[in-house]
Symmetry: C2
Subunit: 461 residues, 2 copies
């Protein structure tokens, strides 16, 4: 890795101010590798190295930097207006949007001032689309042809704009109003005769995304059609730009990260764990932890309600953690399975009844299995150590039956809650697992003690 092997050498070149040699040394590496090196440097050094990069490599390296380092760099370079203007004009429109959208409005205004009129118009238009919409990921670096052009003219266009285009695997055909009417693969152009028209290669079949579509919806289109690039159109069908696979991988990663964090019972961090400030980390976790704590307080209320039973038969208290945690585990299994299936699109709202039937059956099975293990445990301990008093068999029954009920109930609520959340338009992942655990804890106690009252009344109670 460049950042490990070459750091002393690079630092040497910085200190001795050999910027030409530095440029040459870095030119042979991948933008991502140079970015990793710059990330590891102190801010001032980072700016020096960045300023030494060639005008081609610089913007590419910038695109690979985390936002924090991008901001620091732009601040350091504030005085070098020429470099800054070159950089902001040359980075891909989608990466520029990603950089600008995180900045305060005043900084955005200031930086937009560095752009050429044309780039500025593009930047402002893309920033105008809603957050989390496809528009924010659009790049305008694509090639568009007109149907009446010949293949030879098409290649002239490709030679002219191909250098900047993000992809030339697919080329787009637009009509006189800029409306998208087809996509053509470069291989078909290469295989065609120079004098053929573009129209003769068209099949008028194409897939396009809407600029206002949700980014997560767009990932589903990429999942479905296995494309590297998809064109993006507005409501009138005008070609606005393209979206590429790398952004979709990022969106899919982010989607999964958010779901995992929410499933774990915190808010989505929105930043890498390590670079989240401690205060933010505590805040994002504390909020849900307190909500769940307030919910769990109901367990104390429930336990208080059964205080006399516990006082009379302390043995009942002993199995409380076992029973409620089993319900919680069963619930978090079901919740995580359904939340992921919803996210990937494997399960939809219309499947609720089939999901419920599956969870009823599997919950029953799982409950019976745990109930049997629990029954065995109590029987063995009673026989071997004489524990749980003379009525141990009844206790074993109460515990086993409660386990069946609690595990079944855990699976049912764990699977139905995410569907319910989705139904009312909320995010199914939001703290479902711990929320289900809390719900099941409270209801589990009620199931357990009600069962105990019924079975043990007259003996232990």
């Amino acid at each position: 890795m460049l950042d490990q092997l070459l750091k002393p050498e690079i630092r040497e070149l910085i200190f001795s101010e050999k910027y030409d040699e530095l440029q040459e040394a870095l030119e042979v590496f991948e933008p991502a590798e140079v970015a990793a090196l710059i990330e590891d440097l102190a801010e001032e050094e980072a700016a020096t190295v960045f300023a030494a990069l060639s005008p081609t490599l610089g913007p590419q390296v910038f695109e690979h930097l985390p936002h924090k380092d991008q901001s620091a760099l732009v601040e350091e370079l504030a005085d070098d207006t020429e470099l800054l203007s070159g950089l902001l004009n040359d980075i891909s429109p989608d990466d520029r949007t990603a950089f600008l959208e995180e900045l305060p409005p005043s900084a955005v205004q200031q930086l937009l001032g560095f752009l050429d009129p044309e780039e500025r118009e593009i930047a402002e238009r893309l920033l105008g689309y809603a957050e989390d919409s496809i528009g924010r990921l659009v790049t305008t670096d694509y090639i568009a042809l007109q149907p009446e052009w010949t293949v030879e003219e098409a290649f002239r266009q490709i030679r002219r704009f191909g250098r900047d285009s993000e992809t030339i695997n697919v080329i787009y055909v637009v009509d006189e109003y800029g409306r998208l009417i087809d996509d053509i693969r470069i291989r078909d152009l290469i295989l065609a005769e120079p004098e053929q028209t573009v129209r003769s290669l068209m099949d008028n079949r194409f897939i396009a995304l809407r600029v206002t579509d949700d980014q997560e919806e767009a990932v589903n289109s990429f999942r479905r059609y296995d494309r590297a690039v998809l064109p993006v159109v507005d409501a009138a069908g005008t070609l606005v730009g393209i979206v590429t696979h790398d952004d979709m991988l990022d969106v899919a990663d982010e989607e999964a990260t958010e779901d995992i964090q929410k499933l774990g019972g915190s808010e989505a961090l929105d930043e890498p764990y390590m670079s989240t400030p401690l205060f933010t980390l505590v805040k994002k976790r504390a909020r849900w932890l307190v909500v769940l704590f307030l919910g769990e307080m109901l367990t104390a209320t429930a336990m208080g309600y059964f205080e006399t039973e516990i006082a009379r038969a302390v043995v009942l208290a002993m199995f409380v953690p076992l029973i409620i945690s089993s319900g919680g585990n069963s619930g978090s299994q079901a919740a995580s399975l359904i939340i992921r299936a919803l996210a990937i699109g494997e399960v939809g709202l219309r499947d609720w009844w089939r999901v419920m039937r599956r969870e009823l059956l599997s919950g029953l099975w799982l409950g019976v299995i745990l109930g049997a293990v629990g029954f065995l445990r109590i029987t063995i301990w009673a026989a071997a150590f004489g524990m749980y008093g003379p009525h141990w068999l009844l206790v074993a029954f109460v515990v086993s039956l409660s386990l069946v009920g609690v595990v079944l109930w855990g699976g049912l609520s764990g699977s139905m809650l995410p569907l319910l959340l989705k139904r009312i338009g909320a995010d199914p992942a939001v703290s479902s697992a711990p929320f289900v655990a809390t719900l099941v804890d409270v209801t589990g106690l009620i199931i357990y003690f009600t069962m105990a009252s019924a079975v043990l009344s007259g003996t232990l109670l």
Copy 2:
């Protein structure tokens, strides 16, 4: 959507056996859409529709079918050896591997018999790579050039093999031994003069994956370098094939699905939730549920150990669920954050000390917050309803201090366990969250009752 709109019409064409019209009707749709239609049909109908597809569309549609439907289709088509042989020879090598690797060895042998010698050699070689290695995702449909060729000769090669190639955005250059020596973008070829040599376009800089690399490692390369395609080489540097972005999106999705399912405390399902047989679903969930149940039994042992304390002060039992669940929630927050950060590569083993320091600090804060809320709750209930007896203030202290300890301990073990699992070479995601919850439940009880014994001895105890 085709499957909704056209089903009656398609069915009409099937019943009237108008196969030519059927072929024509389906030709205008995307392979993914035809696949979705076939999925919805009964097995026999599906085979009829599939057999009517053109030889170009058929393999593409097959690649978009779920494995279950692929198998059913191949079984239905078993008698039509010509169709079957055409299909198996024409699907992309990577999709063929994905289809074959799920079948029993005898079926694989039988199907390999349908392949031409060349395709058979490729199929056997790809199946020879380890499961979950990059080799299983490799396709051999790429274009390779030799450095001494001219650009004109290069285009001749592209015209010849470009039709089958998965991408021609990037073309590979190999030496006389087939070793990869460079990658060239098609745009550079288009911009070059016909008589230039390929060598004159080379910069000898390229990124390649090893065929034995883990698939999840490979996704990290795609994440890092933002490429649509990466070449794959063997230990000798020979070009084995290419891997494309769509497979990487699948791997990233699968990776996240597995982690979410494991975090939720089941084994990874490996199949969509809805198509997992109920028995498998129960088995994959029961295993961990029982393991966790056995672990949670220690809570009964711990509670048994404190039986006298509970009998003397039943009020203590009331807060047991509240305290252990708070520890569990804090633990599952930390575990999910760290597991995802590990998966995405944001956190590595070398960061353990920084993670621990963060978790110590945030755990302390979170504990203090919950402790304060708990203290308030007990104070208010004691003042308003006269609950928790004359020593309620001491009880409030015990509960609050225990909360600080348990929440802190939950965060610490939740963050350290995944790192520890990774350190010993195990999967950090494996049931970390519920395992942490179980660990924290048991230790939480010990913290709580030890604290109670210390503070309440002489008053309540």
